[in-house]
């Protein structure tokens, strides 16, 4: 099955592992990811103001390109997924907002684009594994199960909230990452801070706050027995690694997937 793919800025630079392994694993699992031509950075944060038009155009461009390709749109980065999915919902539900956006919507090489009203189906890579591939198939494809590894899922905020729009999982008691961890042979560790904010967006504005929040997440995970954390967000990873006062390792979920599938160099 073919999907349009939106990698996002950080996956091309600081978070190459997230991107590279996502593509390689998709290949192994029978999924074709087709990178959207000339995509632009999503902006990293969804601005909830309804009168913010310009900051949402890049997400709408990606969505309408996928629509034109007749494919669902996939992203791996939590922030990209959150921005794209929230923008898509706004284009569906808020007619006034959508008509404003459509006035400014152009596609490279074709000028004014076909108006977009939220037609594209948006997936996070994890949803692809769960709903398209199936975790049982993932499990069957595993060559090196991560047996005995106690892994804490770190959802953060972007994957789950607002749950009405993101609709990935139960926002207070999510399972998708735990099921993923089980599929690759690891042992999920449940800890309460897994869906609390690490304070990543504060890393430039208030480093102390970012440090306080990320440390609380790491401490709670390690106290509950986690050997490492998995995340889908480069900002979370940076913040937990760099600002958090706890040495608990944090890795991208795609790295572990590649390791389990036996394709990690």
């Amino acid at each position: 099955m073919k999907f349009s793919y939106f990698p996002g800025c950080t996956l091309k630079t600081k978070a190459k592992q997230l991107d590279v392994y996502a593509r390689k694993c998709a290949e192994v699992l029978g999924i074709t990811l087709e990178e959207i031509p000339a995509w632009q950075c999503c902006g990293g944060v969804f601005n909830a103001s309804r009168d913010e038009i310009a900051s949402k155009l890049s997400a709408v461009r990606a969505l309408s390109a996928a629509r034109d390709a007749g494919q669902p749109l996939v992203s791996v980065c939590s922030a990209c997924h959150n921005v794209i999915k929230q923008t898509n919902a706004a284009m569906q539900d808020d007619g006034e907002f959508a008509s404003h956006v459509n006035h400014y919507l152009t596609q490279p090489g074709q000028g004014q684009a076909e108006p977009y009203y939220g037609e594209t189906e948006v997936y996070h890579y994890l949803e692809l594994l769960r709903d398209v591939v199936g975790f049982d198939k993932v499990k069957a494809a595993v060559k090196h199960p991560l047996t005995g590894k106690k892994i804490g899922a770190y959802y953060g905020c972007l994957l789950l909230r607002p749950s009405g729009v993101m609709a990935m999982d139960d926002p207070e008691n999510p399972q998708i990452l735990e099921d993923f961890i089980r599929a690759i042979g690891g042992e999920p560790v449940i800890y309460a801070m897994r869906n609390e904010c690490c304070g990543g967006y504060m890393t430039l504005e208030d480093k102390a706050l970012a440090a306080k929040k990320s440390t609380a997440v790491l401490d709670n995970a390690s106290v509950n027995g986690a050997d490492l954390l998995v995340t889908a967000c480069p900002l979370c990873k940076y913040n937990l690694d760099k600002n958090g006062k706890n040495d608990l390792p944090v890795v991208y979920f795609t790295e572990l997937l590649a390791e389990a599938l036996g394709i990690k160099e």
Binding site: C9, V45, N47, G199, L204, D206, L209
Partner: protein, 131 residues
Amino acid sequence: MEKNKTAALREQILRASGVNPKKCMRCGKCSGTCPAYDEMEYHPHQFVYMVETGNIEPLLHSESVYKCLSCFACVERCPRGVEPAKLIEALCAAVTRPQGANHMTPDDIPALLDEDLPQQAIVSALRKYMK
């Protein structure tokens, strides 16, 4: 701020955020759940109440508008669907939009860089704090 201007600003914030502060039943769950509470002078429930009553001026001059982590925990857990974070975001936009009022600009960035900092941190900070 004069009365008419405040009323207009209030309307603008409510329209942009889509928030109806009258839905608030003053339970304080937003402030109970907020991870940035201690860094804020005004707290999520106060944002809602102060906008509702038109007491917006103090919010515009408070660092609190920059402290929201955009984590949406208050939005998710509010029993009445008030969405305080959206209100704070609209206020932040109202503060930073006037000429020269940016809270952060590209000139501030180089001093804050380190070799691991993801691009995402820079674009999101500028999107949150600069117009």
